[in-house]
């Protein structure tokens, strides 16, 4: 079969060519129809609509993500407001509970001290402080109604506070150990030298009558000696802050260990306690403070 170039027309060759074209196109159309004729058009329509479908899909995804993020933001803000309210409420509750907690903590510490000292200790609250004034002291909420008498020792877990100066029917006044007119019989833990503690104010006191021959180190613990019959032997008073040699005696400056400005509850020793009680008051000695430049 050779296809020759010839003019188109209604000749035999033209009819044959027309039949050939119709046969080929008809067959092709039949093939394209397939078992499901619509599928081709559906495929074509799908192909042409794919860009718009993709665009619409992305648009819908963006709107969905925006809607979700907006909802998440609103939920987060509501949750944040709720948590803020709860936090404020808890802070208020904590502020309300703080004094009671502190008092409970103080009570626990006093109870521990009471167990360490096998004496009939009584507890009282500090209702007022006149320490900033001259010859000021601490006012307790109990007095003769609790059987208190003057010169009873007053102490807290950190150390001694002072002694009862005056006792009223329902109140009592405490003379703190740092008052100028206060005196406490003390001894040094390491050297065992004894002396008399006299207050110099501001939580500090001076030990007198300590011989020049004694070796006193800064940071050494100072305990009650029990000789004044106000405090038994071994209660912590404070720590040596400074030692100045004098002509006849050492001037030993002591930082009182009891926080006299922050006392809320105290324990009262019985009047005329024994010289020494067992077990002794536990004292942890501070390390001596070294000055810079000294070996």
């Amino acid at each position: 079969m050779v296809v020759h170039r010839s003019k188109w027309g209604w000749s035999r060759a033209g009819w044959q060519r027309l039949a050939l074209i119709l046969l080929w196109l008809g067959h092709g159309g039949w093939v394209l129809l397939g078992p499901n004729p619509n599928r081709h058009w559906i495929r074509v329509a799908d192909t042409f609509s794919r860009p718009s479908q993709s665009l619409a899909s992305r648009w819908e995804q963006w709107r969905s993500a925006r809607r979700n993020s907006s909802r998440d933001f609103a939920e987060t803000r509501a949750e944040n407001a709720q948590l803020s309210a709860e936090l404020a409420q808890m802070k208020t509750q904590a502020a309300q509970d703080a004094p009671r907690l502190a008092e409970a903590d103080e009570a626990i510490r006093l109870l521990g001290l009471k167990r360490q000292i096998p004496l009939d200790l009584k507890a009282a609250r500090v209702i007022f402080s006149t320490r900033p004034a001259n010859f000021g002291g601490l006012i307790l909420d109990r007095g003769a109604d609790l059987g208190l008498v003057p010169d009873q020792g007053v102490l807290v877990p950190e150390g001694i506070v002072g002694r009862l100066w005056s006792v009223g029917p329902t109140q009592a006044k405490v003379l703190p150990a740092d008052a100028p007119n206060a005196s406490v019989a003390v001894m040094l833990l390491r050297s065992r030298a004894t002396g008399v503690l006299q207050g110099v104010g501001s939580g500090r006191a001076l030990i007198r009558y300590v011989s020049n021959q004694e070796v006193v180190q800064v940071g050494e613990a100072v305990l009650t000696s029990g000789l004044d019959r106000v405090f038994p032997r071994g209660l912590l008073v404070g720590y040596v802050a400074e030692v100045v040699p004098g002509d006849l005696e050492l001037k030993v400056l002591v930082n009182l260990s009891a926080p006299l400005d922050r006392i809320s509850t105290v324990l009262l020793l019985p009047s005329q306690p024994p010289l020494e009680v067992q077990p002794p008051f536990v004292v942890q000695e501070q390390k001596p403070q070294r000055k810079k430049g000294t070996p």
């Binding site: 079969m1 050779v2 060519r17 046969l23 039949w30 093939v31 078992p35």
Partner: protein
Amino acid sequence: MRIAAPSASRQNLLCAAALGLVFLCAPFPRIQPVVHVMLVLALAPRVGSPLSGVLWAGAAGWALEGSLRLYPHLGGTAWADMTITLVAGGLAGRWPLEGLKGWIARLAGLLVAHTLLVHLAVRLAAGPHAWGFGWFWALLSLPLWGWAIWRLMYSGPSPRLG
């Protein structure tokens, strides 16, 4: 040397015989594609008029698909056969054959194109389908049946033999 065209009677007789073989070889799936390809690529394009060749090729395609009874929508192979027959006829008109090697090479190229076109058309008509290995057996046996057609379709001695 230009190759002389064989007589139309011999061509139509050979096409009819090949078409009958397509039917008869239906139980032999390795032989039927070879006969089918031989009819479409080698015999039908050389019939006197393009319409006759296309009719023989379409008949071959329908015969093959009808005997296979595999596809839900027939006609793809027949359309591909008609198309490739037209292409082969056009090639023969524009570039006449001058030897056995060119004949074999042209048949190989047409065979590849025919395979691809048949599968494309069947896919369009009936959807996805198995390729099978008919193309392989046809390509493997191409020198044999190509040489046979060459000797049958042209009178006179072989150009190589003088």
